[in-house]
């Protein structure tokens, strides 16, 4: 026997199940328990940049909305900086900017939405700029390992065309699944981002 490397194995994932809200958003499950639920304010009051709303559906392989899904958001601020000690200039992030949030659906329709600021572009690997994007993590009953994807913005066509992650996707047609569509509604900027778990136009999911 050669020497042992003594690494541990990552704990295997299990589905978050239908009652994920009890743990991560108990108000949505129907009761108040914590003084403060986490993840309800992504950008905070002091964030610079354009205020936006993002909304959409998660759609299953039959074309039906997934009504019990929960999403988590992770994004940089308008300057493209994450509030994390390993990111350069993180001490410049506005007070109260968390960059992270939890998004639950309307249990009747499956529609979800969150309010934030539009993130800025930031440096990726190899000195290549990444277009503005929001990282999403999707869990639900029937999803055995949380799904990672990225939301890009359709009004950033030039930056998107140069984005090193979008360009990793061999099939140009599939790149479209990551682009949120901008519109104006009642003076608000709204981006639409439907996520298709399976089937025609299946959203690109990443193994990060």
């Amino acid at each position: 026997m050669p020497q042992s490397l003594e690494y541990l194995k990552e704990t295997p994932s299990q589905t978050a199940g239908p009652y994920v809200h009890i743990g991560l958003a108990p108000g949505a499950a129907g009761f108040q328990i914590y003084e403060q639920e986490l993840g309800q304010d992504i950008a905070g009051p002091n964030a610079k940049g354009e205020r936006i709303r993002v909304e959409g559906l998660v759609i299953d392989g039959t074309g039906s909305p997934v009504k019990d899904v929960l999403l988590e958001v992770w994004q940089a601020n308008a300057d493209g900086v994450y509030p994390h000690p390993e990111h350069a200039n993180h001490d410049t992030v506005e007070e109260g900017f968390r960059g992270w949030g939890r998004v639950i659906t309307n249990f009747e329709t499956g529609e979800w939405a969150f309010d934030t600021v539009k993130p800025g572009a930031l440096m990726g690997r190899n000195g290549q700029m990444m277009a503005p994007h929001i990282n999403l993590w999707i869990v639900a009953r029937g999803i055995n390992v949380g799904l990672n994807t990225r939301l890009y913005f359709d009004d950033e066509a030039e930056a998107n065309a140069a984005d090193p992650i979008i360009n990793v996707i061999e099939w140009e047609k599939r790149r479209e699944t990551l682009i949120a569509k901008r519109s104006e509604r009642d003076g608000e900027t709204v981006y639409r981002f439907d996520i298709r778990l399976q089937g025609d136009d299946e959203t690109v999911f990443f193994d990060i």
């Binding site: 541990l8 009761f31 328990i33 392989g61 994390h84 990060i208």
Partner: protein, 246 residues
Amino acid sequence: MTQTPKKQGEFYQRDRRWHPPAYDKDYKTSVARSPKLSLISLENTPSEITGPRFGHGDMTPIDNDLLSNYAQPDQSPIGERIIVHGRVLDENARPVPNTLVEIWQANAGGRYRHKKDTYLAPIDPNFGGCGRTMTDENGYYFFRTVKPGAYPWRNWVNDWRPAHIHVSVFGSGFAQRLITQLYFEGDPLVKTCPIVATIPDPEAIEQLIAKLDMNATIPLDTIAYKFDIVLRGRRSTLFENRLEGN
């Protein structure tokens, strides 16, 4: 103990054959909710290496005590009183300090406090069913709760979930984000459960089974189970990664 390097690099790639596949015909809900196309593999960028951070200001000390965090004064939930404790480690066996651990579960009768749960077992007025805490500087965490009950669910006509606690953990980077389930040593339902069986490797399943820990019990009061959680580890940047070209 592995020496802590000054600078850490990318996360080790996730062993997708250790985790359950997206599609498992015996866990029926996964069939229409599983991507059919391959995941696109990405090397880490700052978007994956960074992640949200939490502090004690985000919660109150009672949040990790499910025996009291929803109970009426001087009352407590019905059921077997248990402590669940352990450490959050990475694949290098280093502790993951100051990270958020959240749990949720059914009550002792197998009923969830959720508007979508209609199982006939009763709601316990003194049990909410969720808790949260931060690991300490050694990666240690603990909760106090009641042992959840088994309950039936619609998959085949007679499937029962083994007693389990859902566990959510963050780590330092978004690439470490993990939700899993804790099962209990000796539960015969573990072997029959299609959700447990989505995990292909029996050794990986063992990793989800909390062990009875008599040394951590409180005599005449509360029994204990130990459950360590392992998140992805990171490379040591002994040599700079060759970032240009390939």
